[in-house]
């Protein structure tokens, strides 16, 4: 299974973390520090897999961001590499040519999308259209609620004029 997902910038700044196995706060900080040291120093022509604490970390760099997923020793590494790519493609589609800044200011969206892609540390949905539809449905729900809330407050405002 995927134990955690980490998105870090080239400078080691965390852009997203999602933990599917129980790591305490202290442990999380340690993990992030160790993996940043291990991965950010790897050159471009090396393979996308590192061995760490008896586990494997599959990572891929997209522009200024490193997408990392930690899996078990006997999991299929290439499959995870393509899950990472799948996530990036979905983000790209949602934001329209995504860049790091999008993920910084809209980190909450990145989490919504991830929750439609992975669950319990496994792939949940491999159809991009389906994910896009789901996320956009969620967006509408939020928009509708906002409108309702503002229309209610308008009504109240009118009534109490």
């Amino acid at each position: 299974m995927i134990h955690f997902v980490l998105l870090i910038s080239r400078q080691g700044k965390v852009r997203l973390t999602k933990w599917y196995s129980p790591y305490s706060q202290k442990e999380r900080t340690k993990v992030i520090r160790e993996l940043s040291g291990l991965i950010l120093t790897r050159g471009p022509k090396l393979c996308n897999f590192v061995e760490w604490r008896g586990l494997r970390v599959v990572y891929k760099r997209y522009a200024s961001l490193y997408f990392c997923m930690c899996i078990d020793e006997d999991d299929n590494e290439l499959e995870i590499l393509e899950i990472i790519h799948h996530y990036v493609e979905v983000l790209d589609r949602y934001f329209g040519s995504v860049c790091e800044l999008d993920l910084i200011y809209n980190f909450h969206k990145a989490y919504f999308i991830l929750d439609e892609l992975l669950l319990a540390g496994e792939l949940q949905e491999s159809g991009k259209k389906t994910v896009a539809r789901l996320v956009s449905a969620q967006d509408s729900l939020v928009e509708t609620a906002k409108e309702q809330a503002s229309s209610i407050s308008n009504i109240i405002a009118q009534a109490t004029k």
Binding site: K13, V14, L16, T17, K18, W19, Y20, P22, Y23, S24, Q25, G43, K45, L46, C47, N48, F49, V50, E51, N76, E77, L78, E79, L81, E82, I83, H85, H86, F95, G96, C99, L101, D102, I104, Y105, N106, F107, H108, K109, Y111, F112, D115, L119, A120, E122, L123, Q124, E125, S126, G127, K128, T130, L134, Q138, D139, L141, V142, A145, K146, A149
Partner: protein
């Protein structure tokens, strides 16, 4: 760059990013945390929008590496919000900040359960997602029956059932007893008839876990899995959406083959033949293409097929096809494939006797030991270790020793240990073994445990012919300008016992041996001193006739 959301949040993020240094950032964060704490004290005055905004801010602050413990309760409390936008934030932030060991997560169980059994599909999804991501044992006990119901309910849409499958997987991992095996075998077989590939993929992940614990109960699923694999491999009936760069749902193919690896055999000849045809086609038909993603996806399937072939311990022909493929892979330029080639070759060693065929690739594997990529070096080391036997031990160990001098720190311990084990296991003759261990101590003394040098001493003690050789060898090392403390230990012991055998050689008189040892005394730690002292005593004992001068010199040290 589209701004999808809360202005207050964006402004805060900009503020933080504009801080010039860590101190400024800390100040800004503390200010915000103080503000949020205050606003939450008077919660009645907060609008739902504001609550959301503050909880998101807390997640952002948490991602920067700061402590937001007081925020945990707030996030959890949003789970009970009546409206979707707040509830969503509550569920997601909770699943980011907390884990199953946080006690007060338990407080949310009732609310979560209400959402799961309620009629609101979006709420169900939120709840299933959170429980699937961070649910623990208690969630398993309380919610498993409800989640199971959703998974099996024909009135639930695929979206919900997909999440229910993976949620159940998590709960099962936390407490395997929640799945009553007797009932589930048939249900899993039914789930495999599912048309929706999202639900099927999730169900297959669940099946992997169930089968890994108890394959006997799930035999009925075996032929269905083979059928699914066949359908995918032939690209029959696969919706365009689930075709990834031309490969029909590679992830589902991989998962299905993973399930099959938990069944020890395939009894039915028809099923067996079908499966082998599929596997044969994958093995022979996976070409290298330009598109990286298509390549990765098709090779992910290929490597899983390889694992399945190995597991089935198929006909000799198929196995040699596999080794031939792997032999190609370990020599390609693409580092991922090289890595996986080495890893899978190592796995093959556990299976039948492919050792001889693998040995043909020894030269390439040794080259990989020196690859610029530490991940590949590690795989090469594992493989060399696994393929070592009496015929190639000398070559392999000597390569390892040579590599040890330039190896990076992180690999030295493993390298030394493996070399020591191989040397002992497969030594063509004992003097070579002694050489190897002494070289190891010389090059990587820090990583050579006492066990290792004790064993050398044991061998030397039990083999008279070895004793002169060993004594001469350790003296050579002691003559060097820099000597590792472990070398001093083993040398002191051996010279103490056997240096008298060298007495006639130039530079090896008892006096000279004693001086050689004694000059190390000031440099060693307390654990080594007793060994040195007993060496002096032993040297004295072996001198006939006794040497008065040396005797008084040595006695002076003791008294």
């Amino acid at each position: 760059m589209t701004m999808h959301g809360m202005r207050g949040l964006s402004v805060f993020i900009s503020d933080v990013r504009n801080c010039q240094n860590k101190d400024q950032e800390r100040l800004r964060i503390d200010k915000e945390l103080g503000n949020v704490r205050n606003r939450f004290k008077n919660e009645k005055g907060l609008t739902p929008y504001e609550k959301k905004k503050y909880v998101w801010k807390m997640l952002y602050i948490y991602m920067l590496g700061y402590d937001v413990d007081f925020g945990h309760m707030k996030a959890v409390s949003l789970i009970s919000a009546p409206k979707y936008p707040e509830k969503q934030v509550g569920y997601i932030v909770t699943s980011c900040l907390l884990n199953e060991n946080h006690d007060f997560l338990r407080l949310a169980i009732n609310t979560v359960r209400n959402d799961i059994i309620g009629r609101n599909e979006t709420f169900q999804c939120l709840a299933l997602t959170m429980v699937g991501n961070i649910g623990g044992r208690e969630f398993a006990e309380s919610l498993a029956p409800d989640v199971q119901k959703l998974l099996l309910s024909s009135s639930c849409r695929p979206l919900v059932r997909k999440k229910a499958a993976l949620c159940l997987l998590r709960l099962y991992r936390k407490n395997p007893d929640i799945v009553n095996v007797d009932g589930w075998a048939d249900r899993m077989a039914q789930l495999l008839d599912e048309r929706d590939l999202g639900v099927l993929t999730s169900s297959m992940s669940l099946l992997v876990a169930l089968v890994s614990n108890n394959h006997e109960a799930y035999w009925s699923c075996l032929p269905k899995c083979v059928k699914i694999l066949e359908r995918l491999a032939r690209n029959q009936d696969v919706p365009q959406e689930y075709t990834y760069y031309g490969i029909p749902s590679p992830w589902l193919q991989v998962k299905t083959m993973r399930v099959l690896q938990y069944f020890p055999t395939i009894e039915d000849p028809y099923t067996r033949r079908t499966l082998f045809e599929v596997l044969q086609r994958i093995l022979m038909g996976t070409d290298v293409v330009k598109n990286v993603n298509k390549n990765n996806a098709s090779h992910a399937v290929l490597f899983e097929a390889l694992a399945l072939v190995m597991h089935l311990d198929a006909e000799k022909e198929m196995m040699s096809q596999c080794v031939a493929l792997l032999g190609k892979f370990i020599a390609v330029r693409e580092p991922n494939i090289r890595y996986l080639g080495l890893e899978n070759m190592t796995r093959m060693l556990m299976v039948t006797d492919v050792q001889e065929i693998i040995k043909r690739h020894q030269a390439q594997i040794i080259t990989s030991l020196k690859d610029p990529d530490v991940s590949i070096r590690r795989r090469a080391l594992d493989l060399l270790y696994g393929m070592c036997d009496v015929t190639n031990a000398k070559d392999i160990v000597e390569e390892l020793l040579q590599y040890l001098s330039s190896a990076d720190f992180t690999m030295r311990e493993e390298l030394s240990l493996k070399a020591a084990i191989l040397a002992e296991k497969f030594a063509p003759d004992l003097s070579w073994y002694v050489d190897v261990i002494l070289q190891l101590i010389d090059k990587a003394g820090d990583f050579i445990s006492d066990d290792i040098w004790f064993r050398v001493v044991q061998f030397v003690t039990n083999n008279d012919d070895l004793q002169t050789y060993a004594a001469a060898k350790v003296k050579e090392y002691l003559d060097k300008p820099a000597v590792h403390e472990t070398m001093v230990k083993v040398s002191a012991y051996i010279l103490g016992e056997y240096s008298h055998l060298l007495a006639r050689r130039p530079g090896c008189s008892p006096k000279e041996i004693f001086s050689l040892l004694h000059e190390k005394l000031p440099t060693v730690s307390t654990t080594t001193i007793p060994i040195l002292l007993s060496a002096y005593a032993k040297i004295l004992m072996h001198i006939h006739p006794p040497d008065q001068e040396l005797q008084s010199q040595i006695w002076a040290i003791f008294f």
